[in-house]
Structures are given as structure tokens and as C-alpha cells.
Point group: C2
Chain length 346, copies 2
């Protein structure tokens, strides 16, 4: 019989940054098919003029059933996958959904989940074309494959940023994480006293940001209407720092962003000050995650077209290869950006 | 806080046949995109000339780590998805793989898994273009999305079988299930006595059938070379009965298959007789599952082209709408086919 655990030379997955892990697992992989234009290493694979992505949400890891309504969960699972399509400058067309659930879930629970899946598909004009419903031993695992189209010449990779390009982000950052903090706080209180009625009034915006994110396909459309093709793009799913580092790594460049230009909602600041004196809103923006906004770079010639675009903020610029990715504070000190996925790297 | 379990009017998923469940969850779904040619309800979705499918394998449900080498598991996860591409008469081109693992797994374990994934991709000329590696709370969940191409006019759905068409299957049936029976038997013995050394000699064929199935892309190729386009096709993943019922339901027809024509390997028969006097090889073929062979119907005019084709067996014919799907025994009695997914239906 096979022994599962290799005691000798065992390397813990948690001790390895995700970037290094994926590069190890997929090293020396070659394309055999002419239609394969982009493999592993971007927000989507590119196959002909299609972009394809897969996103998995695991109960207890990516969501907590204590405070995640199933309809919101279904909506979010699709939204998160469509965010990757947006990050390639694409228009989503189809999704496939695989759901594995334990017998704790009823048919009525699946009805709710599917209502959410379908609502997000409807909202973004996407067809739910396949997938399967199966059994898990514990909890729920939800995987969404999304397929989109991009016009020739408009695909944006992480790798195209050029020296002096302007760096932009959409929406505001850190608010989804602020929403998560509120939900976790109320959960702890509820667990201590099950008669406790959580009062979530006044937190509507940050809660919605966490529970029901929207892919920024509106910005993709606005850029297209203005004839702007970003030089590089990715979505902001694990915090701004992670996304900046991905673009810098893929584009072989450095980056400077300015703290005072980061878009942070007042509710995010309020939640932070409620939580702790030491919790800074900018930390939520850099490392909080789950915002599903876009980060992109544009050529300076496109500045006029972008500067007044709704929900788009110019937050910095690209620096040359060999320079680090940094944030400049209002006091003009420079902080090197770090992210979990790049741990162990400099 | 959200209550997970709906006590009132709770319907257990296990009390509902899978066919009815999927029809309930996806009722009244409409296509919004011109490229969507086939949504839910076949082995793959059809998008333009592409076919797309998603397959999930859950530890403890679809595989048992006690006797599944990780390299085999990786191979099988891809093979199972490619089998769905074959079932649409397609040629696979790309796969994306999502892996969620608990901290019980090491980086070296993922190396093994990816070695298997890559080996199957290489064997069938497929590119591994995306996916992700994430965390699960318990065990491993593996989802593969496969994308293939089909020439215009060659896509085979489940729905095209016509009266008097010949019904064919590939390979042999029930052997994967026989392999599973052996592995389960040895597992029980091993659990009772951890010093026990399982002796799997003499069972190589059935074990390989279960642990390392191959998609029948060779038969898809042979049909293409002969200029035969099946009128309907599906793969045999949950037993022959399930596949026959799917074709009958989609094609609005009945079917007669002949027990004496079912291809059953002698090792399958031997395993059955070892297990119990009452275990019939034909039951393994009808209800065992995991063979990943193909079931298809052809027009009678193609009989000459197919009758001597390697590994293809003519096992019956299509009957008219309203007739049941049945198996005729050598004694000329007629047995109505049933399958788990159709439970609750007649």
C-alpha cells in the first residue's frame, strides 16, 4: 500500500511561497498546441482569442458558513472568476461550475447557491453551460471555470508594463477586508452568546464589498470605449502589494506607488480605528485582499483619457528593472512592498 | 447570522436522482451568447467549435489515498476529463487544474501528483495551461477543466440516436470495478493487520483499469479515419446502464442491448467468482462504473466500417420512443436497465 506522507525530505507547502511552488510544479512545461498562447502564470490562460480561468472556493478556508448566505456565495464564486477575465481585458461569455457538498447540505441549500450563481451570470450576460454536482466528505468546495473573449490586440498580460508607465487601480482598496473584520468580530461575540443579535447597521458598504464583490467589467468597457489598452493588468485579489509584485515580476520592472493616492473609503478607516489603534487602513489596502479591483499600467500618452475616468485612480508609476516595488509615504519615506505569495524572495 | 440547515421542507440530496437534481437547479436557463451551442446536459459544453468539461475528484469519495498512488491520481484526473472530450468526438488541446490540499500533504506529494498530471497531458498532446493550488481543510480535491476541438459537423451529442441505429461500446466493461473490489479487499485485510503485505499479482489488468484509465481517443481517431460520425455518444463512467439511459433520454428512444455481446474480460469474471457466488460480471459491466469507455450509436449504413474496428463492439440497437432501455439475456428474458442517477424515474 502507498504511504501518503513522505517523512524523508518532506517540505511543508506552507513553508514555500505560492509563486515558487507553482514555478516548481510547472517547470519546463512546453506548449504542444498552436492555439495555446498563454499558459500558467497570468490571470487567465489564453487559447486563441479566448481567455480561460478557474477559481476554487473552499469552505472553512475561503468562506465561513457562519456568515456567508449561500446566495451570496454563489454570486461571489462567479464574480471572482469573472474578475480574472476582466484582468485580461476580456468580456466573459460562459462559466462552468463544479460543486461538491456534504450531506449537511439540502437540495434547498443548493437552490439558494444556484440562485446566486445564476444572478451573477445574468448580471454580466454570461451563460452557465456546464459543471457537476458531487459529494464531499466535509463542507463545500466550489470551482468555477470562466471563459471570455478578447479582441485581437487587446489582451492585457501582467508582463507588458514599461518604464514610466502610469500605474492605476480601480474602486477603493481594503474595504472587503474591513467587512471581513466586522463579520469575524460579530461571529466571536455570537459564539460566546448564541442569544446575541449581531448589529451590522452602518457597515453596509464594507460588508457588501466582502460578501458580494463585483468584477470591474465596467472599467474594462470604459477603457475600450476610450481606445485605451493597458500595457499590463491583473486583478487585486490578495491585496495591492501582491498585485504590484506580480506585475513587476512579470514585466521585469520596479514600481513606485504613493500612499496618499491610494483610494480608501471612510468606512474602511472607521472600521480600522474601531478595531485597534495600531490597525492602519493602508495595511488593509496593501495586504487585506478580496477587493477584486483592477491594477493596471498605461502608457503616459493615455493620461488624458484615463485621468477623469470614473473609479480609476492613478496611484504611481513604473520604475526600471532592478528597482524594487515600493510605497512612498506622505512623509516621503519609502516602504518596500511584500506579499505572502512571494515569501522567501527579496 | 445565517442558518445553514433549513429544517422546514428539507430535501436530502441523496434522496433525489442526479438527473432530476441538475434539471431542477438549471431549469429555464437560457443562452445569452451566440457562441454557446450546448449548455448543461451533455458530456461537454459546446462553445463555437470548442468542447469544454469539468471533472472533480474528492478524496474519500472518488479516491482513497490508502491505495491510490499520487502519480496515478494525477494521471487519472486528466484522463477522466479527456474522456468527456472523446465522448463529444473531440480532440483535447488544453487542461486547467485546480488542487486543494490540506497540510497533510507535502511539496513532494504535489510533485508526484503533478508528475502524473503532466504524464497524461504528454501522452495525449495536451497543454496544462492554468489552474491553481490552494488549501483545503481536509483531504484533497482535484478539479480538471479540459478543452478540446471538434471539426464542424462532427460533434456528437447524446441526443442524436435514431430508430434502428446500432449501439456500440469500446474496450471491455466492469474491469475497473473489479480492480476496485480487489483494492478494497486488500485494504480491509491491511487495516486488520498492518504487517500484512498485499499480494496484487495476477490482478494487473483490472488494477490498471481502475487506477490508470485511458480516454478512448484512439477510437475517436479510428472513427474519423473511417469517416464515421456516431449519431450519439457518451462515455461510460458510471456503468453501462447509466450511459444507455442518458442516450435514450436525450434521444427520446428506447434501446435493446444483448448480454451475450457485452465485452467482459476474463479477469473481471475471475474476480467476481472470487468475491461471491452471487456476484455476476454483467452487474459490474452495467453498474460498476469508472471504465471510461465510449458508448455510441451509428447509422446502419456504417456497419461495414465499424464491424471489424479494433476494440469496438456492437452490443445492441435503438428502439422507438416510448420503449424502455433493456438488456436481453441469452435465455431471451428482458431486464429493464436502471441507474442511480435516474432513481425515482420509471
Amino acid at each position: 500500500m502507498e504511504q501518503l506522507e513522505y517523512q524523508e525530505g518532506r517540505t511543508e507547502i506552507s513553508h514555500m511561497g505560492k509563486v515558487a511552488l507553482i514555478e516548481r510544479l510547472t517547470a519546463d512545461m512546453e506548449s504542444r498546441n498552436a492555439t495555446t498562447r498563454q499558459g500558467i502564470g497570468d490571470d487567465c490562460a489564453v487559447i486563441g482569442n479566448s481567455v480561460v480561468t478557474m477559481q476554487t472556493l473552499v469552505e472553512g478556508v475561503n468562506f465561513d458558513m457562519m456568515y456567508t448566505p449561500l446566495k451570496h456565495l454563489g454570486y461571489k464564486a462567479v464574480a471572482v472568476a469573472l474578475s480574472n477575465i476582466a484582468a485580461m481585458n476580456g468580456t466573459p461569455r460562459q462559466v462552468l461550475v463544479s460543486v461538491a457538498v456534504s450531506n449537511r447540505y439540502s437540495v434547498e441549500a443548493l437552490d439558494e447557491l444556484y440562485a446566486g450563481l445564476r444572478l451573477c451570470c445574468e448580471r454580466y450576460g454570461v451563460d452557465l453551460v456546464g459543471g457537476e454536482t458531487g459529494t464531499s466528505r466535509a463542507g463545500m468546495v466550489l470551482t468555477v471555470t470562466a471563459i471570455g473573449e478578447v479582441a485581437e490586440g487587446c489582451i492585457t498580460y501582467r508582463r507588458g508594463a514599461k518604464l514610466h508607465d502610469l500605474v492605476c487601480c480601480t474602486g477603493d482598496l481594503g474595504s472587503a477586508y474591513a467587512g471581513l473584520l466586522i463579520l469575524e468580530r460579530e461571529k466571536v461575540t455570537y459564539q460566546a452568546d448564541p442569544n446575541f443579535q449581531p448589529d451590522l447597521a452602518g457597515y453596509d458598504y464594507v460588508l457588501e464589498r466582502f460578501l458580494k464583490p463585483e468584477p470591474r467589467l465596467d472599467v474594462v468597457k470604459a477603457l475600450r470605449e476610450q481606445g485605451v489598452v493597458p500595457t499590463a493588468m491583473t486583478d487585486i485579489s490578495k491585496g495591492l502589494a501582491d498585485s504590484v509584485l506580480h506585475i513587476c515580476r512579470a514585466s521585469h520592472c520596479g514600481c513606485e506607488i504613493y500612499e496618499e493616492h491610494l483610494p480608501i473609503d471612510y468606512q474602511t478607516s472607521r472600521v480600522c480605528s474601531e478595531m485597534s489603534k495600531n490597525m492602519l487602513p493602508v495595511s488593509c489596502a496593501l495586504n487585506g485582499g478580496e477587493d477584486y479591483e483592477l491594477l493596471f499600467s498605461i502608457s503616459q500618452k493615455d493620461y488624458e483619457k484615463v485621468k477623469d475616468m470614473k473609479d480609476v485612480h492613478i496611484i504611481g508609476h513604473i520604475t526600471e528593472e532592478g528597482m524594487p516595488a515600493v510605497m512612498v509615504t506622505p512623509q516621503n519615506t519609502t516602504i518596500t512592498l511584500r506579499a505572502q505569495a512571494f515569501q522567501g524572495e527579496e
